[in-house]
Amino acid sequence: MKEFMVFVPRSVDEALEFLDTEKGSVILAGGSDLVVKLKERKLTPKYVVDISHIDELRFIKEDGDYIVLGPLMTHEELRLSPFIMEFAPILHEALSQLGSPQIRNIGTIGGNIVTASPVADSVPPLFVLDATLKLQKKSGKRVVHISEFGIGPQKTIIERNELLTEIKFKKMGAHEVGFFRKLGQRKALSIAKVSVAMWAMVKNDTIEDISIALGAVAPKVVYAKNGMSTLKGKPITPENIKEAANVIAERDCSPITDIRSTVDYRRAMTSSLFIDGCERVFGVSVEV
């Protein structure tokens, strides 16, 4: 009894050609998520396209003011990359809290994005870093913003014949700070009950620009738009941070109750994590 066939392309072109002609394919990069779904028969594909041997998708490079990543980079490779540590410390912080060494060694950044879980640890940092994704198919390519990519739990705009081939974001520079905070029940192998990423451009103790993204509080990772507009252009004060935290909890979260937590707790914790992160990067103390 054959359940599915495995196709192992050696190049992006070979993969795109196959995806273009054969319907019913799923893509395997690291497999940390896909293999579980196959085992549980939540997915019953005709083909598994194993892209893990396409070396051209495994890279990290500088491109002027930007960092460009291949989707096959594992979480651990990126976590240990000096580029990421220097130019995207928010992503480094998130990857350090992702899964366990075993999962970080096999899971890929591309897989984390395409799986489109609202709890994916690498996605909120990519939101606040304003990342773009290159999606390629046989007949062409398009570039989309990370915030447009996911549309719901395990749902994205990627077409069945498209492959994520590049992730690109601007290097963080002087005056730019940020954090990633995650709340889980244990110290490793913990799926976030809530996560918060923030990036800000700070000059003269004023927040010139800010981006905040939330994980696990909506069907997908979302921007905390109300929180962002509350703080943009404002001086860094405990009062302003506290106000933004309240706005985020009340207006930017739409959490659900599931096995990992409850609505009220998630809402309260989003605010708490945000304050905790701000206290550290801004060096202020917020009374709660």
């Binding site: 244990r186 490793a188 913990s190 109750t257 409850t262 707790y265 309260a268 708490s272 905790d276």
Partner: protein, 760 residues
């Protein structure tokens, strides 16, 4: 006696095979022509079975057998304690999601899985009961014909009304503990092979292979000498591979006998979680009276244990609870009732601690609450009430052996600076700050071995070979706790052998006689006494040989380092030569060892009696840091002290302490096997959270040795007492840090922050 092997830090004799990957686990076994089995389970937790149609499944190419309850030649109601109520394959109804409706054997697993999808079942769905108190309501649907009460035990001592009227304060509290999975790393696996004589041989990770054999014989309608059970290397058990493995053994054996071919079934993690029994959730109502000086005058306790779908060990688990429910304290007036009831959740049975971790959570956190209410330090209130040598327990037993509670409590309090830190952290509660520290103490006493719940003896066979090596055959099994190593140490001690000269055989029911189950932390005491008995017999014959070889001595020969020495003349001979001489003298160098445990007694009507023949004592202190904004508890360090009689292998004792605390931490703050209308929700380790290595704190051990006259070389036990103290110590530490009393487990983020679980 000089300590040559007993008491030495000894690496496990089976560790090399495990760490090099050479150890053979059940799922590693492949027999020629072997088929793969699959269990077809119910879609509903509680339903009558109206019809099962297996015709389509049977027609699938590659399927060799599809069996239902009708195909069972013997009994189809089994159990490990008193009540036999669990079917190997369900017949009239299903009572929890793990119940099997059919079993399939096919050439490969996928074919078996495909055939399983073709089985059609008609059900009449029945209401689901999840709560044991509700199960006992008159109007509740009956899960078993006899009703939903599995058992009721009680203890009555003194006069409860008089006790409460003497009290200055009365403290009442309700406690609830959760359902916990054993989380052994190796899921259940067994292979059955038909034998030429019409019998069957089953290889697998059965914890108690003699129980498995008894049940196999009944289910297969075979005599016991035609059923052979062989225990494979076990990847953990923690009490969890008893019933579930006995039933799996029956399932593979039924398929093997039906097809005439070997059949293997290995559960996936999800199947294991859904099928296997768990730790009983307890609902406990405690009421305690105390005088202003902290003296306890009375305790009234009512407990409802969630037995799940089948009786399993409920009768014995709750009995251990009723004996120990008042904790290690001197209480003149006691009334305790415990009821176990059927529900439609996973059945609950033996798990490390066996009914003691639940009650320890109640009495130890309640003791701190009483101390707080009376303005007494938790250390002082314990010192005032702890049982001492010569005191009488709640069941009327006079503790004439040495009671070491004060020693273990002082050991952990000193090592952790508990007394000062508790006061400091308590004063710190009102000060500002997001992260608060806390420290908590918990202690217990625990009856060793089966006690009045069972017949207790051990037996073994020792065979010295002519080259001076030794083979031990014994029915007390090693499931990772280090039994083989201590067994070898006992023989080594008496016969002067080095451990590399000693083999402990794999266990096969047809070779070694039954020594009862390897449970209740009885392994070291029971097997040690049996081995000592056999080794002494061999030693006596070697001494007779030595008298001829190296001369007589009135001060006794010294057996050490594979040599026998006459201390009077300094002459020495190797054990090999002594063995050869004994053989020439026609003296046996093999021996049977037997050890009958001392008698115990119990009066079911009054709940009074000599519950256990000896006790062990332990204490833990846990220090935590609580994030007051998220409710996150970071366990910083745990100090543990246990009185074990004699530490045969101190390294093994420490290993047990580390593991027991890790499991206790899981019970206290992480783990919960959850259901929605009787359907398990946490069937794998992504949602069922056990501690990772990152979550386990530094642990400091203080082993206390007060040799027990009953134990071999004074040794008692350590396996289970280590698992009942970390959780209450952590909960007490959380209270010390936050001032919030937690009376339900796990104390997860929501519970710590809000004081209760949120309705999901």
């Amino acid at each position: 006696m000089s300590a040559w092997a007993v008491g030495k830090r000894t690496p496990r004799i089976d560790s090399i095979g495990k760490v090099t990957g050479k150890a053979i686990y059940a799922d590693d076994i492949k027999l020629p022509g072997m088929l793969y089995g699959k269990v077809v389970r119910t879609k509903y937790p509680h339903a009558k079975i109206l019809n099962i149609d297996i015709s389509e499944a049977k027609r699938v190419k590659g399927v060799e057998a599809v069996l239902t309850a009708k195909d069972i030649p013997g009994v189809n109601r089994v159990g490990v304690a008193i009540t036999k109520d669990q079917p190997i394959i369900a017949d009239d109804k299903v009572r929890y999601m793990g119940d099997a409706l059919a079993i399939i054997a096919a050439h490969d697993l996928r074919t078996a899985q495909f055939a399983a999808s073709l089985i059609k079942v008609e059900y009449e769905v029945l209401p689901v009961i999840e709560d044991p108190e509700e199960a006992l309501f008159e109007a509740s649907v009956k899960i078993h014909d006899k009703g939903n009460l599995i058992c009721h035990h009680k203890v009555r001592k003194g006069n409860i009304d008089a006790g409460f009227s003497e009290a200055d304060i009365i403290v009442e509290r309700k406690f609830e503990t959760q359902m916990v999975e054993h989380s052994y790393i190796e899921p259940e696996s067994a292979i059955a092979e038909p034998l030429d004589d019409g019998g069957v041989r089953v290889f697998g990770c059965m914890q108690n292979i003699y129980t498995s054999r008894r049940i196999l014989a009944q289910v297969l309608n075979l005599p016991m000498n035609k059923v052979v059970c062989v225990q494979t290397t076990m990847g953990g058990s923690f009490g969890g591979k008893d019933d579930a493995m006995n039933i799996l053994a029956c399932r593979v054996a039924l398929l093997a006998l039906a097809t005439g071919k070997p059949v293997k079934i290995t559960y996936t993690r999800d199947e294991s979680m859904i099928d296997s029994y768990k730790r009983h959730p307890y609902k406990m109502y405690y009421r305690v009276g105390l005088k202003n000086d902290g003296t306890i005058t009375a305790a009234e306790i009512k407990i409802y244990a969630n037995g799940g779908a089948y009786a399993s060990m409920s009768e014995f688990v709750t009995w251990r609870s009723v004996v120990h429910a008042t904790g290690p304290y001197r209480i003149p007036n006691v009334s305790t009732d415990i009821y176990a009831a059927y529900t439609n959740l996973n059945y609950t049975g033996a798990m490390r601690g066996f009914g003691s971790p639940q009650i320890a959570l109640a009495y130890e956190t309640l003791m701190d609450e009483c101390a707080e209410k009376l303005g007494i330090h938790p250390y002082e209130i314990r010192k005032k009430n702890l049982l001492r040598t010569g005191d009488t327990t709640a069941t009327g037993q006079v503790l004439d052996g040495k009671v070491s509670l004060n020693e273990v409590v002082d050991a952990v309090c000193e090592a952790s600076d508990f007394i000062n830190k508790y006061t400091e952290y308590k004063n710190n509660r009102a000060r500002p700050g997001i992260r608060k520290r806390g420290i908590g103490l918990a202690c217990s006493y625990r009856g060793v071995s089966l006690g009045a719940e069972g017949v207790d003896y051990g037996t073994c066979f020792l065979k010295l070979e002519e080259d001076g090596t030794l083979i031990i055959s014994i029915g007390i099994t090693d499931m990772g706790q280090g039994a083989r190593t201590v067994q070898a140490q006992f023989a080594a001690e008496i016969l002067g052998l080095t451990l590399d000269r000693i083999s402990v055989l794999d266990i096969n029911t047809s070779r070694a006689p039954d020594s009862g189950p390897t449970v209740a932390s009885r392994g070291t005491l029971i097997s040690g006494n049996a081995i000592t008995n056999a080794a002494q017999k061999i030693r006596r014959n070697l001494e007779l040989a030595c008298e001829q070889l190296i001369g007589k001595t009135s001060s006794g020969f010294i057996f050490e380092n594979n040599m026998i020495i006459n201390p009077e003349n300094g002459r020495a001979v190797s054990i090999k030569d002594a063995a050869a001489k004994a053989i020439k003298m026609r003296l046996p160098i093999h021996a049977e060892g037997f050890y009958p445990a001392p008698q115990t007694s119990w009066d079911e009507a009054t709940g009074q009696g000599l519950a256990y023949f000896t006790y062990v004592y332990g204490a833990n202190v846990a220090e935590v840091e609580v994030d007051m904004e998220t409710g996150k508890v970071n366990v910083l360090k745990v100090w543990a002290s246990h009185e074990v009689g004699k530490a045969v292998n101190p390294e093994g004792v420490e290993g047990q302490i580390y593991g027991g605390i890790a499991m206790g931490l899981g019970l206290g703050i992480l783990e919960e096997f959850e259901f929605k209308n009787g359907v398990p929700q946490t069937t794998n380790f992504d949602e069922y959270l056990i501690p990772t290595s990152m979550d386990i704190p530094e642990i400091e051990c203080r082993i206390v040795e007060n040799p027990d006259p009953i134990g071999p070389f004074g040794a008692k036990s350590i396996g289970e007492p280590t698992n009942e103290l970390a959780a209450p110590a952590i909960l007490n530490a959380i209270f010390n840090a936050t001032g919030k009393r937690i009376s339900e487990t796990p104390a997860n983020l929501e519970v710590v922050l809000l004081g209760h679980k949120l309705k999901r």
